[in-house]
Amino acid sequence: MSKEHEKGMSLIVKTITRLTVGLILLYGIYIVFHGHVSPGGGFAGGVIIALSFIHLMLAYGREVAFRKLSKATASVFENLGAILFLIIALLGFAGGYFFLNFISKGEPFRLFSAGIIPLCNIAISLKVGAGLFAIFVALVLLRLDGESKK
């Protein structure tokens, strides 16, 4: 690994990344929050959120990306997503059925509607976003370790 490579890609890529990465993250969050009224949802939104961090890592190198979202934080978010999802399911269980939709459904096609589904979407997006980022990091760092040994 050369030293320039550590710092990331060329100036053009870095500039474009700086301009777009926030929009990508925002779009992912939009997809998550509108999962129950339009196509998309927790998984798709989570993938887009993870891609924004992967984008950052590809353009600027891993140090910058880790400053935004470190491996430990990603792991915490991943577990938080899973536990949140399970808690939502168990709250429904306390109300009668596992995964019962216990919040009022509201009016269709509004942002605040559909009961627990938006909450589930948020939990899933946390899990998927952090998990996909962690998978990417695990695969990339493993390769770096292998090469540095040689």
Partner: protein, 112 residues
């Protein structure tokens, strides 16, 4: 009918790739191909003639929509495929670290 048979052909391509190729990465690609063939087949079973995408909207009512259930199921199976593929790639990278090769004819220390 022909479109279902093409799915089968794609599935067989994947299986051929798994059985015949020596490179670990190519085997993983073969698994991905046959997985997508199965997903494609599942999606095709949902199709109704002239059906539209199963999305409700407040503006217009959709009368003839395709079966939405297989879409949800295939989404689940894609997620499972993602997990399996990530695990396989991770194992393949570790194997390369230990054995220094991707050739399965050289990675034969266990005789099943």
């Amino acid at each position: 009918m022909i479109i279902y048979l093409l799915c089968l052909v794609l599935f067989c391509c994947g299986i051929y790739c798994i059985l015949r190729k020596r490179n670990i990465i190519k085997i993983i690609v073969g698994i991905i191909i046959s997985e997508y063939a199965v997903n494609l087949f599942f999606i095709l079973t949902a199709y109704r003639v002239g059906g539209r995408a199963p999305i409700f909207s407040s503006e217009a009512e959709i009368l003839n929509m395709v079966d939405p259930l297989p879409h949800a199921l295939v989404l689940t199976s894609i997620v499972i495929g993602l997990a399996t593929t990530a695990l396989l790639v991770a194992i393949a990278m570790r194997i390369y670290e230990k054995y220094g090769t991707f050739d399965i004819t050289k990675i034969r220390e266990l005789k099943g």
